[in-house]
Symmetry: C2
Subunit: 313 residues, 2 copies
């Protein structure tokens, strides 16, 4: 069975470990990862979602943080404080090496993001095939719903990290997406997969950019019957991050029903948590089959169990 997973960061990374454990060969899984929250800082090309997925699949992610590397040191960041440098985006010393390598390959050696992503995954012995959604630059931009003043548009990471996503949002756009192409292999993988999984990631800012790459929405829609989405919303709340507030701020219902409505054009099936079992009927009114299962991946066993559900429904 071949699987394509549309992926954001932490939730997707856990889903991918579960899917990996649920198949005989992880290389039958291709993850198409959001790069809309990539940023250039200190001259470095940083790909937070790709790194979170890679480090998680490698078993090297910091468990306490959910991002970055276990056993990390922070000497560069601490030294940056001497200069009053931009230390709001935390890069551990070992994590920095990933950014140094990616940047050197992209800028000096003419590699594509796809190539570097594969090299980094191989170095970490990750079996899942990792693809960026695009080799072209797409930048998720967030317009804050500031009180009186003019709208303020900031980068996704500024919103997410510097402002700790603790501000209301008026709109989201994906700068550059119109001229972006899916990374090599993405459309073929979507066309050929036995199962397409929309991971429990933020629908707006993690899955949204992936589907916004020209060609992707059509490709996924045409496979709708084989597409299974997993709701990132449980009992009206995001397990992590601002998905619930973002949905509400942008006019969507922050519930599994709202998620069903968003994903209805793409997915025939939505896996919702047992805690939302009472909403199964409402989900199905959106023309999406509801599958009720435990979706909270608190450990490898729970992640594998969810992987089994997603692949067997």
């Amino acid at each position: 069975m071949t699987v394509v997973a549309l992926a954001g960061g932490v939730g997707a990374a856990r889903m991918l470990t579960g899917l990996s454990a649920a198949v005989p060969d992880p290389s039958s899984i291709t993850a198409v990862v959001n790069t809309g929250d990539d940023l250039v800082l200190h001259g470095l090309h940083i790909s937070p979602d790709l790194d979170t997925v890679t480090y998680t699949l490698a078993g090297a992610i910091s468990r306490s943080q959910g991002w970055g590397l276990e056993g990390e040191t922070w000497n560069a960041m601490a030294a940056l404080d001497r200069y009053g440098g931009e230390s709001w985006f935390r890069l551990g010393d070992k994590d920095l090496a990933t950014q140094l390598y990616r940047t050197q390959r992209l800028r000096a050696e003419g590699a594509t993001l796809s190539q570097v992503t594969a090299e980094i995954a191989r170095a970490w012995d990750v079996g899942v095939q990792l693809l960026p959604m695009s080799d072209d630059r797409v930048a998720t931009r967030v317009t804050l719903a500031a009180g009186d003043g003019p709208d303020e548009e900031v980068s996704f990471q500024h919103y997410f990290v510097a402002l700790r996503h603790d501000v209301a949002v008026r709109s989201v756009r994906f700068d550059g997406v119109e001229s972006a192409k899916p990374a090599p292999g993405v459309l073929d993988a979507v066309a050929a997969a036995d199962r397409i999984v929309i991971c429990p990631s933020n629908p707006i800012v993690s899955i949204g950019p992936v589907l916004a790459v020209p060609g992707m929405a059509d490709a996924v829609r045409s496979r709708r019957d084989d597409v299974v989405a997993v709701s990132p919303i449980v009992k009206g709340a995001a397990l992590k991050g601002p998905a619930d507030r973002l949905l509400a701020e942008l006019g969507h219902e922050p519930s599994v029903v709202g998620v069903a409505r968003l994903y209805a054009p793409y997915a025939a099936t939505l896996v919702i948590d047992e805690a939302d079992a009472a909403l199964a009927a409402a989900v199905e009114q959106e023309s999406v089959r509801a599958v009720v299962a435990p979706t909270i991946m608190s450990g490898p066993a729970e992640a594998k169990a969810l992987g089994d559900v997603v692949l067997s429904v």
Copy 2:
């Protein structure tokens, strides 16, 4: 007394500590530092000579290495090895912060190298005014005297670090220098200084680029009577680095006499080491006054003593 010092890396850094100790106010000293060996690696703008001078004047330089920071850690470099990344140019974790800050200021915030250099110096409480020789990119390129094959041109750092300057050199050029301008304040400082010091740095690849910036050679020549050079060659050998071999390979005599010949258009006076006292007459035959003094700066006292000599002759 105002002083301008033309500076490369280690030898210049020590000379500057000596000059600082020899004047009432270090801010009366302006160092014009070689940036021909700057490099872009991992997307970062690295300025090795500026950093060596800054760290040395801050008392933060690694004594054992002569470059980089004391008490440094190497976690990023070690992690880079996982990817087979470019780890030949060693950047400690704290030193990386300097490169991150410089790059962010230059690339994202539109600062000039002069501005960033001043900010970094201020952060380290360096009293000496540090100026890059130019805000424009000048890249020292080295053509290797390869055996049979075609000449191979490499970057200075490739020659100096990756090849450990253990190969013969056919020629040296300063790419981009024709269109470079002296950094703001450089020419004014040279014109106004009571004393101009050519530090004991490599005449070819450290002082050479500084004098090659258009306007600099004329500016220094016009102050010849007030220019004192310190020979980086003692008893026919460089204290550190390849200056002796480079001089010989490029057709110069690797001795204080060869240095006198090179600097004769610029400097009325050359300080040579006591070990070379017998060559004083030969130096003066090059129309350069020879001052014999201990020039080996093994510690702060020796550096200050040499500073006193340079300022008093």
